[in-house]
Amino acid sequence: MEIVYKNDWMQIIKKGEQYIIRYNSGDLINSIREIKVLKADALKAQKSEQSAYEVILKYQNLYNG
């Protein structure tokens, strides 16, 4: 497992060929969440906070929240 990107609210982790975004969602209660993402999205999420937001939203909309 390798942390390929990190800021103060999000980490992008590479586990084998799998990319995982672990982030603080800001839920009212308990807010650490993880989503598995494509490599391209993992790369996009590192570009800016807005890009990270868009990537996470994309997966949240895919999986209903």
């Binding site: 969602s25 800001g26 009212l28 807005q50 996470i56």
Partner: protein, 449 residues
């Protein structure tokens, strides 16, 4: 004359039972074990699980108990004794001994049939009996699981729920007072345990006066005249949360319910949950969205508008100023003026939330919930409407005394999950707002003791 005959019969039965129990006694390793059998499985089987809870352990103990009854105590003697199979006589004997055995029988295993066996259950109290009992069971049987269930007196309330997912014989042969045995497929009905003050809904919503059916769904009539239509679902229930201000859903299921709150737990939690706030809802994807038809939710929004917003993908949902009045918004936000709080399983290591903002509740509400929990994490989870274990073992509160960017959530936040509804309240009725995610130094983390 009738009384004389009954007393005589009781005396004979008592003697027979004592003889059998004396024989049983010899099979046991010691006196205590024999006494336990006598009290738990014979004289006071129903009292044995009054106020108890359901778990695999209890089910296992139950099966073992029945197995023991069959193999160790020569049930042929019991089954071939007409008098012993006479429910009324055994019931009367049970009543005589109920009060003395009640205390020691409180935590005993359930005398629940594991297969084709049958048992008799009695509350056995000479005064009002309020036994909150749930017997979850899922299997196919060829004989009734329970022979008969009696509250023990004419005015007693043997509050019993028998969720069942079997396919063959009826669960209970005869039912007397305060007992319901629903089959969890087809037309599924669950009647909730009843107390001396009326019927209780296992939520913070208080008591219902009566319950009826609307199609396959339960319709509850509340004291204030409100009607609550309970939703359906095809998913099994593993737990029914009892949370403050939340509508508990008792859905239709084709699988066995394995856990339900006992009557005592239900009553305790319902009484503790104040203030009572009304939630009306309809079920979509097993979630309740506020508002029924064109009625309004807490924020004064019609359900059609709520649904329209929820159907909009995250990222494109409208700003609350487009559907909520300035007065409502101002009033809502003013409730957060004395500081805001988050409750989480672990302390943040950096900014306490993403750039899109973080959800908070008024600190006064967090104070109240934490005080109610009294250091019990499970209870805190229950009050917050969270699944058991979700706060871990050492939750913390994050207090932000001077939040910036205090605003109503718009549903585009990363923390707006599938339960989110517009208007500034959680689906469980807690006040919520969004603030700019506080950086280190802008918040204080305190372990919840």
């Amino acid at each position: 004359m009738k009384t004389l005959i009954k007393n005589s019969l009781q005396g004979r039965l008592h003697a027979i039972l004592e003889t059998i129990l004396c024989w049983c006694h010899c099979c046991y390793r010691d006196d205590a074990e024999a006494q336990a059998f006598k009290q738990y499985y014979f004289w006071q089987p129903f009292q044995a699980f009054a106020g108890g809870y359901i778990s695999g352990g209890i089910m296992g103990g139950t099966a073992a108990g029945i197995g023991g009854l069959r193999s160790q105590y020569n049930t042929d003697n019991l089954n071939n004794t007409d008098n012993l199979n006479n429910t009324n006589n055994l019931y009367n004997l049970n009543r005589q001994l109920a009060d003395t055995a009640m205390q020691t029988a409180q935590t005993a295993p359930l005398p629940l049939a594991a297969g084709s066996e049958s048992v008799n259950l009695y509350s056995g109290n000479s005064s009002n009996a309020n036994n909150g009992v749930v017997l979850p069971w899922a299997g196919n049987i060829t004989a009734p699981m329970v022979n008969s269930v009696n509250s023990g007196n004419a005015s007693g309330n043997g509050g019993v729920v028998f969720p069942w997912a079997g396919n063959t014989a009826p669960l209970v042969n005869s039912v007397n007072s305060g007992v319901v045995a629903p089959k969890l497929e087809g037309d599924n009905t669950i009647t909730l345990p009843r107390g001396t003050e009326g019927n209780y809904l296992p939520t913070a919503r208080g008591r219902y006066l009566t319950i009826a059916k609307m199609g396959n769904r339960d319709l509850m009539v509340m004291p204030n005249g409100d009607l609550i239509l309970m939703p359906e679902t095809t998913k099994a229930i593993t737990t029914i949360p009892v949370t403050s201000n939340a509508l508990t859903v008792i859905p239709k299921t084709t699988k066995a319910i394995t856990t339900l709150p006992t009557y005592e737990q239900t009553l305790q939690q319902a009484n503790q949950a104040t203030p009572y706030k009304e939630v009306r809802g309809e079920v979509e994807n097993n979630n309740i969205t506020e508002g029924v038809g064109d009625s309004l939710n807490r924020a004064g929004m019609p359900k059609t508008k709520v649904d329209e917003i929820l159907k909009t993908p995250k990222g494109s949902r409208p700003d609350p100023t487009s559907y909520l009045s300035a007065e409502y918004t101002q009033n809502h936000i003013s409730k957060f003026n004395d500081g805001v709080t988050k409750i989480v399983a672990q302390a943040p290591t950096g900014t306490a939330g993403p750039p899109s903002g973080t959800f908070v509740m008024p600190s006064s509400i967090a104070d109240d919930l934490i005080a109610q929990a009294g250091g019990n994490v499970s209870k805190l989870e229950q009050l917050l409407g969270l699944p058991k274990g979700s706060l871990g073992t050492r939750p913390v509160r994050i207090d932000i005394a001077n939040p910036t960017g205090l605003r109503l959530p718009n549903g585009n936040e990363l923390g707006a999950n599938s339960q989110w509804i517009p208007g500034g309240y959680t689906s469980g009725g807690l006040l919520e707002a969004i603030i700019d995610s506080p950086r280190i130094g802008q918040y204080i983390v305190t372990p919840i003791e």
